[in-house]
């Protein structure tokens, strides 16, 4: 099988790869390794590790080469790789409002055509799924979520947009995400979410965590604007977005 496998990222980091693709089982093992390394460091082990960054199928271990060395650190981290399957952690369930208004969905028609469905089918199919947060990355608060309806699955846009508005809901491959910030982006935009996925005023600025579950709840434009205003003012209580387990 070839896993775990390590790969160099210069002299200050290395990847521990536990798989090749995007799947729940591999991701669960990556998250478990991330947690084990974090716990070991808290207990005083693995000196010289600066941080670990989990992603779909690998954990990036960042270290200080003046405090430790790859030769010493790598075996110590590999010893923490979980054997076999890891039970899925029970994350929180979020219910995030989503407005699929045409003004917010510049790629919806093209996507529907490419998928061979009517445009009115896109929003219900997107909102019907319960998504799993695989990882956070790219920008503060941005969560990569898996579980997209196979009918909606298409590769990323061949030409990314230079500017995607903040809050845009994107789909690409088998994943969906919400862009927390205006940024360049190559995903198909099909709606907008008024909630701030990153808000430095909050005690915990990042809303979602790896392992959380997310459902999108369609709201109309008027409702969207109310929620967006509350999010800007800081009066939208994120507790209200938590769903029943």
């Amino acid at each position: 099988m070839g896993f775990p496998r390590t790969a160099s990222a210069g002299d200050t980091a290395f990847h521990v790869e536990l798989g090749d693709g995007i799947d729940r089982a591999t991701n669960a093992r990556v998250m478990a390794l991330h947690e084990r390394v974090t716990a070991a460091r808290a207990a005083g082990a693995l000196p010289g590790v600066v941080e670990t960054v989990p992603s779909f199928r690998s954990l990036l271990v960042v270290y200080d080469p003046c405090a430790t060395a790859r030769a010493a650190l790598e075996p110590a981290v590999l010893a923490l790789v979980p054997e076999g399957e890891v039970p899925a952690a029970a994350g929180r369930l979020w219910r995030l409002p989503a407005c699929y208004d045409t003004a917010f969905a510049p790629d919806l028609e093209d996507l529907a055509r490419a998928c061979g469905i009517a445009p009115e089918e896109v929003a219900p199919r997107h909102a019907a799924a319960e998504y799993h947060v695989y990882m956070l990355g790219f920008m503060p608060g941005l969560a990569y979520m898996g579980g997209l309806d196979p009918v909606l699955q298409r590769p990323r846009r061949s030409e990314p947009r230079v500017r995607v508005p903040a809050g845009s809901i994107g789909v690409a491959g088998a994943l969906t995400l919400v862009y927390p910030w205006e940024s360049p982006g190559g995903w198909h935009l099909i709606g907008r979410c008024p909630v701030a996925l990153f808000d430095r005023r909050r005690a915990e600025p990042v809303l979602l965590a790896a392992g959380d579950r997310v459902r999108f709840e369609p709201v109309d434009r008027a409702n969207f604007e109310e929620l967006a205003a509350a999010a800007r003012d800081g009066t939208l209580d994120s507790e209200t977005l938590l769903g029943a387990a």
Partner: protein, 346 residues
């Protein structure tokens, strides 16, 4: 503003508060940011008596204009920064980098162009009295993180200081500027070097590249021969570090710098070694560069050697000698007769 501060009269082109970085939160998508030139940051801080990681001003291309609103302030610049001191009734006086200077209330410090490098650093004794975010004062403008809502300095901004006056003691200087390195930039191949055809790695390690027009704190787009992928340019998004060299479908490499995103899905052919990061981060559009491969162990050794060089420079910080003057203390304490022999040795 009543406490001691520096008043920003002109923010310059892109001046941001940076320390060594906001570490430990990349798992939440929060980039490290921090000084593009950590060598300059650490030495400027050492020259003003600060802990080396104290936040300072990173100045890109054209610097700010600051007025002293404290009894006095000690500053030091690192890098090829033009600095003019303006005092009432006096002609402007150029101030040299790599040494400390003490400025009095009302004096104006006019930082001009940075020549020959993309950035320079200006440190202040005592640092700034600004609230950290997640333990750091580093600025990440894309998400508004850091002082002043993550914005670069602009006219009217006030930089509060922790010290009401400069520390006592004479001005100090480095014995010599730091060595950033020259010749090919050293890289460790990987993490996805095997995703490129054989010719690609050879090309990458021998061809001349140039920093393209898009060069900022997130990264440098490099112009040069295209690098061919074996099976597409995409991998599942994984972690990135400053110095990661991504190659998207176009085949043109992107060398990531401090504001890089925390994860990305383009294949990475190599990573610049940490010892060469300060040098690479100071490159500007149009600058030429080439790459040479080293192993992880060699790269770690080069970094540790660089640390010893920096420690040596810091240990050698001494009082500024007047031009042509004799340092009497050095004369009295140095060993003038080492190497003398008794005469009966062969």
């Amino acid at each position: 503003m009543s406490g001691p501060h520096l008043e920003v009269l002109d923010g310059g082109l892109f001046t941001t508060v940076q320390d060594l970085g906001r570490f430990g939160h990349q798992a939440l998508g929060i980039p490290v940011a921090g000084a593009l030139d950590p060598i300059g940051l650490r030495l400027a801080n050492a020259l003003v008596g600060n802990p080396q990681g104290t936040a300072a001003l990173e100045i890109a291309y054209l610097g700010p204009c600051l007025r002293v609103a404290a009894d006095s302030v000690r500053i030091a610049a690192a890098g090829p920064l033009s600095l003019l001191l303006e005092r009432p009734g006096e002609p402007p006086e150029p101030l040299a980098p790599w040494r400390s200077h003490t400025l009095q209330r009302g004096w104006v410090l006019r930082a001009g162009p940075v020549t020959g490098a993309a950035v320079a650093v200006l440190a202040v004794a005592g640092g700034f009295a600004l609230p950290p975010f997640l333990g750091s004062l580093s600025t990440y403008t894309r998400a508004g993180l850091g002082p002043f809502d993550g914005r670069p300095l602009a006219a009217g901004v006030v930089l509060p200081l922790t010290r009401p006056a400069a520390p006592a003691g004479e001005e100090v200087e480095l014995a010599e500027p730091p060595d950033y390195g020259s010749g090919p930039v050293r890289v460790v191949p990987g993490p996805q070097a095997e995703r490129f055809d054989e010719a690609a790695l050879d090309t990458f390690l021998s061809a001349p590249y140039r920093v393209g027009k898009e060069a900022d704190r997130m990264g440098l787009r490099l112009d040069g021969p295209a690098l061919v992928h074996l099976a597409g340019a995409d991998v599942p998004s994984d972690g990135l570090v400053t110095g990661s060299i991504q190659v998207p479908g176009s085949g043109q490499p992107i060398l990531l710098l401090n504001d890089h995103q925390t994860a990305g899905g383009y294949t990475k052919i190599a990573t610049v070694i940490s010892a060469d990061l300060p040098r690479v981060a100071r490159l500007r559009s149009g600058d030429a560069l080439g790459f040479r491969a080293v192993t992880v162990a060699e790269a770690e050794a080069l970094r540790r050697r660089q640390e010893r060089h920096l420690s040596g420079l810091v240990a050698g910080i001494s009082r500024v000698r007047p031009p042509g003057g004799i340092d009497l203390e050095a004369l009295a304490t140095s060993n003038l007769i080492s190497g003398a022999v008794a005469g009966d040795e062969t």
